[in-house]
Symmetry: C2
Subunit: 385 residues, 2 copies
């Protein structure tokens, strides 16, 4: 990959480096508004894009009614629900698969409890690549339906999510599969950083003052930081926004770490919150999140479930944007941030709405594509059938 | 509206006319790829677009794996699930609301059982306009949640869907509200015809040989016909595609009318099919559908529920596209069409995937925004509270 000039290991992440300069995002460039628009800052060589579904290029909405409600004339919503499986996970999936198509890898794997697994199953189907997903046995049946409907193999692991991650990563190493696990593959952050580039272009090549995003494992926020930082490195921006990360009160390990106070059990209870998409007790790249927030002069805030459900309703009723509770966390976080003086109503503030759950028909489930496993041998045997 | 030169009443529809010429869709025009790209062929005057959410510009997917499965190298999927509420109804909603914003009308109304109501509720919220929706009392609770979550007023009518339509239309007349009822407002067809323009542009300014779409009330297919016909009228295309309309076997009034054989009760049973989105016993503009199909040398076909569920799974597994059963009907119809010699595997065939159901959290429902009504007086009193 000629574009990537090196990589640095830091805070548990691998950071790809480029030869930063202003020509990497040329002004008035032609080409459609998708994430491939930023090819010069992505780890893919020249040549036609193989991945057959347009990804990214999501709208930055002015949301006039919401602006009025909030008394914030420069508020923006970056609506990632407009991606193919209605979440920003589609970006990471697409870049990992594009790499796989170029290298002729025939299988992609991930462990996930939710949107990342659905994005992987549908994305792999679009690319004609096999998806092998590892979940905990307590995974929701509707999500299993979505994954198997798209033809993915889904292996259920009794020992829980952490064991599912271990099996998925071991399978990737052993069988040479694409590893799309959060925090494991630097391509996931490379893909998600394009959100920052898009917002900057949509604001007429200026970063917002404040950028607010939900935080579960961390890649979404860390990628925003890398994207905005690269614009500065390229000489295309003179400053980066303050990043505000939002977690649910019931599961707020990084808010507690940010504040330097230990989290009680009620603050580390993922099953207790409606925001399942960000309810992660041990975030995969938590240290990188704290670094990113610190660097930009931002903060971490926690929000109640009531505030999350209120944010879902406010996004729907004042902006016409449908979101799941985790996807709406940025709006709930904005209210806390304004209250605590972390953001001013006169500032340019962008909220990242990360996703929305999609509905499906259980009659399209394929139970023959699921199996309970404990070992890689069992995985291999199941796939041979 | 200077652009519209007149209108013709035909087959139960009002057809707006323009001064057709090739400059109406200029080549290499700038501007983003949304439905407003076709302003010169829409009933809105010059000046900035007020509606704050980008609509349309959905991808035409090559779906390589699906092409292989079907043995059809020139198969395309027009993916309308990429609209804000995941269906093509967003186009009609947006144009009706754009008109309302320009005329300073403060309320939009429609009767609907599904996606059109959700699109209206969310679209109105985005525009800062009040939505008043009329449904039958047997409307699904999840759909009611979505509508009220977005701040719409929802009036439930015990006498059923037809009575809900009557009340909605009477309210529009009496109170001067925007009337978004299917088949009532010519703007809904004007908006949906932009799908044809987009496909033509995406195929490098050529129409497909065959275009397949689900048919419920009819506007989606009729609008495709008007769009492709207008390209011919403009001198931008020399032919129109054959249109194939698809209905569910359990509710196929227009297939029976097309074949000239009376429908039995089992063929007019909307509750019996999984394709609720197109299960309409008395299509609002059925005659216009039959005209459109006849004009292009197309056909109407019926598909089984098994075929519809199979099409959902095939779209997911071979194209990475999530659809509800009604939204996947075009793929099920393609299989019938190929079998009956209505389409050839070597032809350029475009499938319209119209929509996908979205999921929501019932905790965000607002029961205070619903009431059971029988008369306009009751509607007026409820809204005054």
């Amino acid at each position: 990959m000629d574009r990537v000039t090196g990589s640095v290991g830091l805070a548990g992440c691998e950071w790809l480096q480029y030869d930063y300069n202003p020509t990497l995002i040329a002004q008035d460039r032609p080409g459609s508004f998708t994430m491939w628009r930023y090819r010069e800052l992505l780890p893919v060589d020249d040549g036609p894009v193989r991945y057959p579904v347009p990804i990214g290029g999501t709208p930055l909405l002015p949301a006039p009614a919401l602006r009025q409600t909030m008394g914030m004339p420069h508020l923006w919503i970056k609506d990632e629900t407009r991606n193919p499986t209605a979440s920003n996970k589609d970006r990471a999936t697409a870049l990992v698969l594009e790499d796989g198509l170029r290298r002729r890898v025939d299988t992609i794997t991930t462990a996930s409890t939710g949107n990342a697994a659905v994005a992987t199953a549908f994305g792999a189907a679009a690319a004609g690549i096999r998806a092998v997903i590892f979940v905990s046995t307590d995974c929701q049946p509707d999500k299993l339906t979505l994954m198997t409907q798209a033809g993915a193999w889904v292996f259920l692991v009794r020992a829980g999510y952490a064991a599912a991650v271990d099996l998925s990563r071991a399978a990737a190493r052993t069988f040479g599969w694409l590893d799309r696990n959060t925090g494991a593959n630097p391509f996931t952050i490379e893909a998600k950083k394009t959100v920052a580039f898009e917002i900057w272009e949509q604001l007429e090549r200026r970063p917002p003052d404040v950028m607010i995003a939900p935080v579960g494992d961390g890649p979404t926020l860390v990628a925003l930081d890398k994207g905005f930082a690269e614009l500065v490195s390229c000489g295309l921006a003179t400053r980066r926004p303050r990043l505000i990360g939002v977690q649910a009160e019931h599961c707020q390990p990084l808010v507690r770490a940010w504040l330097g106070t230990p989290a009680g059990p009620a603050e580390l209870d993922p099953a207790a919150t409606v925001a399942d998409g960000i309810a992660v007790v041990r975030p995969a790249i938590g240290n990188a999140v704290l670094d990113a927030v610190r660097r930009g002069g931002g903060a971490m805030v926690a929000v109640s479930d009531n505030a999350l459900l209120g944010a879902v309703a406010t996004l729907a009723g004042r902006a016409g944007v449908g979101a799941e509770p985790a996807g709406a966390a940025a709006l709930a976080g904005l209210e806390v941030a304004v209250e605590h003086g972390l953001a001013d109503r006169a500032e340019t503030v962008a909220l990242l709405v990360t996703g929305r759950e999609v509905k499906t028909n259980r009659a399209t489930s394929r139970p023959d594509r699921t199996a309970i496993v404990e070992t890689l041998d069992q995985v291999e045997r199941a796939l041979e059938q």
